[in-house]
Amino acid sequence: MQVTMTVNGTEYTREIEGRMLLVHFLRDVLSLTGTHWGCDTSNCGVCVVWLDGEPVKSCTVLAAMAGGHEVRTVEGLANGAELDPIQEGFRQCHGLQCGFCTPGMLMTCRALLDKNPDPTEGEIREAISGQICRCTGYSSIIRSVRWAAVHESDAKEAEVAQA
């Protein structure tokens, strides 16, 4: 079957099997290997991408289901060489060690900050409760999200001050 979807702003049309999962479509067909493929059972969350602006586990969504919809992956976060504040937060606060869970964490935390620009530690823990990190013990991930929240709000205030 043929599927057409927009990924990070670019429209792609490809011939696929109906049973192909979105995670494999992104990685194997579009070569967007930033999205990781982990437990395959929607438990670990390394495959989180956005579907129409909402985080979903792409190992449990058919590529065909995303047809006609908009997908955003970790490759769509940075603006050229300029990292998204959430990426910069992970860099500043050691939000990763091995990096395997990072793409999913980034997509979930970006969505969290878009909805809730000033999340508490509890709200961050709840947001990432469907994702597993075996390196950090989560504390540095939480610090990373807080870093991004604080720096985004500072940046906004600076913009307002300039205007």
Binding site: M1, E17, G18, R19, M20, L21, H24, D40, T41, S42, N43, G45, V48, E54, P55, V56, K57, T60, V61, L62, A64, M65, G67, T108, E126, A127, S129, G130, Q131
Partner: protein, 290 residues
């Protein structure tokens, strides 16, 4: 790599068109909503179909929460996140928000639906216990029209429902009673987002300080979620008290039929059925009074 066996993907454009497809394709086809129960089963080849009909496009038709004077109607495509965030539902039946907070995780809740949860008919499934507690009925549509069944009729057995091959669950209806109402849900799980070791829901209706009606529903202690009419009979007409909750807990423990598995021993699960019944009744009464 886990992938489902090959199938043809079809996309529904309306409820009637989906029923037409089911009528034509029969038992070789299955509807998929959020997919977070069905796709994992298909990956494990526990479920295999020649056709999969994607009903996500029906969210605009079947995703709603409508508050009426005598009942609340919820569309089958209403997603977990929508149930969790609905202020209307939290106000009328707070049991939904209690349950949704502990169903899977926020990302899965973005996709999973009420109808999909009920149709999976897993004995540990939380929304089935909520709907059993609230005495909900299920609207099932086919070419011949609609029929409405109770939760007891809906769940035929584990992973088996009254929905036939050429039918679709479209709506859940929950009766409202003209009394002070309170409801609550509690679950014991091994880790965040897991299936219940045991969970319990309770709903009470008070008039003049006395219990006019009360219902308890349990998950993970039998082949299907279990409503316990004996508890309702024991509570009706009485003033709420710790002694009464204790009695209800004891009835719950002896009325359920848990089995020993990796989540716990049958004895432990009976203990939980008792304890969670008491806790949820206590909270439901507090809410009905406030």
């Amino acid at each position: 790599m886990q992938v489902p066996a090959p199938f043809e993907y079809e996309r529904a454009t309306s409820v009637d068109q989906a029923i037409g497809l089911l009528e034509r394709l029969g038992s070789s086809a299955r509807l998929v909503a959020g997919g977070h129960s069905l796709l994992p089963m298909m990956k494990l080849r526990l479920a295999n179909f020649e056709y999969l009909i994607d009903i996500n496009p029906l969210h605009s038709e079947l995703g709603y929460i409508r508050l009426g004077d005598d009942e609340v109607r919820i569309g089958a495509m209403t997603r977990h996140r929508e149930l969790l965030e609905s202020e209307i539902l939290a106000d009328v039946f707070p049991i939904f928000r209690d349950a949704e907070k502990v169903i899977a995780d926020p990302i899965v809740r973005n996709r999973g639906t009420l109808g999909g949860s009920l149709c999976q008919a897993d004995p540990s499934e939380d929304l089935s216990a909520v709907c059993t507690t609230l005495d909900a009925s299920c609207v099932i549509r086919g070419t011949a029209g609609e029929r409405v069944v109770t939760m007891e009729e809906f769940h035929v057995g584990p992973y088996e429902t009254a929905v036939q091959d050429n039918e679709i669950l479209t709506e859940i209806r929950i009766p409202r009673k003209n009394f002070r109402a309170g409801s609550a849900y509690a679950k014991v799980e091994r880790r965040a987002g897991d299936w219940a070791v045991v969970s319990a829901g309770a709903a009470v209706w008070l008039d003049d300080g006395r219990i006019v009606d009360a219902r308890v529903g349990l998950a993970a202690v039998g082949p299907n979620t279990t409503g316990i009419p004996e508890i309702s009979a024991a509570l009706r007409g009485n003033e709420p008290s710790e002694d009464l909750f204790q009695l209800a807990g004891a009835i719950a423990a002896r009325s359920c039929d848990p089995s020993t598995d990796t989540r716990g021993s049958a004895d432990y699960k009976r203990h939980l059925a008792d304890e969670l019944t008491r806790r949820t009744l206590r909270t439901a009464v507090e809410r009905a009074r406030s």
